[in-house]
């Protein structure tokens, strides 16, 4: 197995009395595609927010590439090589497509006040390089609309692409995608699948929160399943698909039917017990 990149141990965060994330432990390896799934309210986005520093975990630790990043500022965590997108698009609405992508390059552009005020050669070269790279990332995600337009005027699917381009422009080692397929049509989901594969091919680890199971099963190498802030299962797509605990979490156990159904599926596929059920 390749090198350990992200290591989350016993992470917890509560809001009032609600334990949104409750002792979550999982890891991400270099260059892998990992999906985090679970019913609504399972704590997936909260977990993302803890990892990226938007929430401070009340317990546990998060380390990235061997460095402890627990409770650091989001900007520090982002600079260490983690980029993310947001569940509800968080683009800079008034700005152009290109400027949005340039946000990802901000920390790498070397330019001070004087360079900007006097338009020194360093300023010009830096701006040109940044523009070229912004175009390159937009090419990469397949954004072919007018790139000098205000982003708010673009169709939703294109905005999704730009948000990914912006995250990629950060040149992360790990990319967290929070429901990237939400609101996309079938064709756009296909393109997203291709895009995620191309991102993985660059050696960037992709962590995906997604409700579209077709997409998840197709693209993931591993899947982590959350329910009530805890990890209930982890394994390959095939193992997760037939894991009774997962089926239970999604369908509930009020009457016998779904459970019996789950056991029937599990016994039929013969994969029961291979999914590494935890806690």
């Amino acid at each position: 197995m390749s090198k350990l990149l992200l290591d989350v141990r016993g992470m917890a965060v509560s809001f009032g009395g609600v334990r949104a994330v409750d002792g979550l432990t999982f890891s991400v390896h270099e260059g892998e595609v990992l999906s985090v799934i679970g019913p609504n309210g399972a704590g997936k986005t909260s977990a993302f927010n803890c990892i990226t520093g938007f929430y401070k975990p009340s317990a546990g630790s998060v380390s990235f590439d061997g460095t402890d990043i627990t409770g650091k500022r989001p900007a520090v965590i982002a600079a260490s090589g983690i980029a993310r997108t947001f569940q509800n698009l968080r683009l800079f609405g008034d700005l152009t497509v290109l400027d949005n992508v340039r946000a990802g390059m901000h920390v790498r552009i070397r330019q001070n006040f004087l360079d900007a005020m006097l338009h020194t050669p360093r300023y010009r070269r830096g701006e040109d390089t940044a523009a070229d790279e912004a175009h390159a990332w937009l090419d990469f995600v397949g954004m072919e609309y007018d790139r000098t337009a205000q982003i708010r005027n673009l169709p939703y699917g294109e905005q999704r692409r730009v948000e990914i381009a912006r995250a990629l422009a950060r040149r992360p080692r790990m990319l967290l995608l929070d429901e990237p397929a939400a609101g996309l049509n079938h064709g756009e989901k296909e393109q997203l699948l291709g895009l995620m594969r191309r991102i993985a091919a660059l050696g960037i680890a992709v962590v995906l929160i997604e409700h579209d199971m077709g997409l998840v099963m197709e693209v993931s190498e591993r899947i982590v399943v959350l329910s009530y802030g805890k990890e209930i299962a982890e394994g390959t797509p095939a193992a997760i698909r037939s894991n009774p605990a997962v089926i239970e979490a999604y369908l509930g156990v009020e009457d016998e039917e779904p459970h019996a159904e789950a056991e029937r599926i599990a016994s039929e596929t013969g994969s029961r017990g291979t999914a590494g059920v935890e806690s």
Binding site: T52, R73, P74, A75, A78, A83, F86, R90, F92, G93, D94, L95, T96, D99, R102, A103, M105, H106, V107, R108, I109, R110, Q111, F113, D115, A116, M117, H119, P121, R122, R124, R125, G126, E127, D128, T129, A130, A131, E133, H135, A136, W137, D139, F140, V141, G142, E144, Y145, D146, R147, T148, A149, Q150, R166, R170, R171, G194, R198, L202, G203
Partner: protein, 366 residues
Amino acid sequence: MNDESTLRAGEKPSVYVSAVEGRTPTNIAPSVTEAGASASSRTAVAELVSNSLASRCLGTGAAVAALALPLVSSSTYVIQIAVDALIFVMLAVGLNIVVGYCGLLDLGYAAFFAIGAYTSGLLSTRFGWPLVATVPVVVIAAIIAGLLIGGPTLRLRSDYLAIVTLGFGEIIRITANNLDFTGGPNGLYGIPDFGDFGLRADIALYWITAVVVIAAVLFSSRLGRGRIGRAWRFVREDEDAAEAMGIHTYRVKFAAYIAGAVFGGIAGVLFAAHQTAISPPSFNFLWSALILMAVVLGGMASTPGVVVGALMISLLPELLRGAENWRYLIFGLLLIVVMVFRPQGLLPAHPGEPRRRGRRAREGTS
């Protein structure tokens, strides 16, 4: 910061970008309408180039007109009004950095104006410094004031920041009003000017003011387009998203606040030289409100807009002088009319790409 990930001019394309550039047409997600899209983006680029050319000419034209004014009309009245207007322009572009670019609502901007004027006035009248020598001290004083107020307040968002800055503006004015050192309610008088260079004194001051203000307008506009200017806009648009891109939003807001403070402070020096006497009422809340109005009226984050807005706010009451006591009523009504019909401001900022010098303009993607 490792060197590999540092974007510097002339560096070899990174592994990522080479991967991007080495793509084949088949792995670009939408293979549709490439030609069409690039053609339309090319016309858009051409349009933007001509736009920015036009505005560049506009800027140069305005600068030349400002410098040539004393040659056209050298009446004391015109020069007097023009210096006032230019100082107001400088205040407006300074506040535009804070409010327009960075989206921080500052209702106490006149405080920095006062700090500049008082620092300069004190050093020149009490210690006999030449006015030019006070400028570096004013810059430092403005930065310190910016740090002191910004430190605790920039962690606040929107409404809270507005209230705190409003309070700060009043604190500075009331402090100046109550200290003997600052001349109390009488203020300071007998502030020298920069020297007359063999010209009529007010015309010499006019030209100095014009050069400083033109530089201020240019620099604030350029700052707005550079790396820090983009960061300001990112923070204005969405602080969390900016933070997620590795931008230290607190530092970025600080930078905007301090840049604004320096602009305000230097405008204060010009004001002290122009008025020769300053007193606390010169820096009351009405000033802060009028400067903010100039920014909003002209178009937030738009340099040409803010300059026009500032000229309107400072010159309209003069132009309406014929209407005598009715002029402020007419002034107020005009402002309301403008805001109703142009809520984005007179010349709103339009997003666009800067013109690229020398190097290839972006070709189609094929």
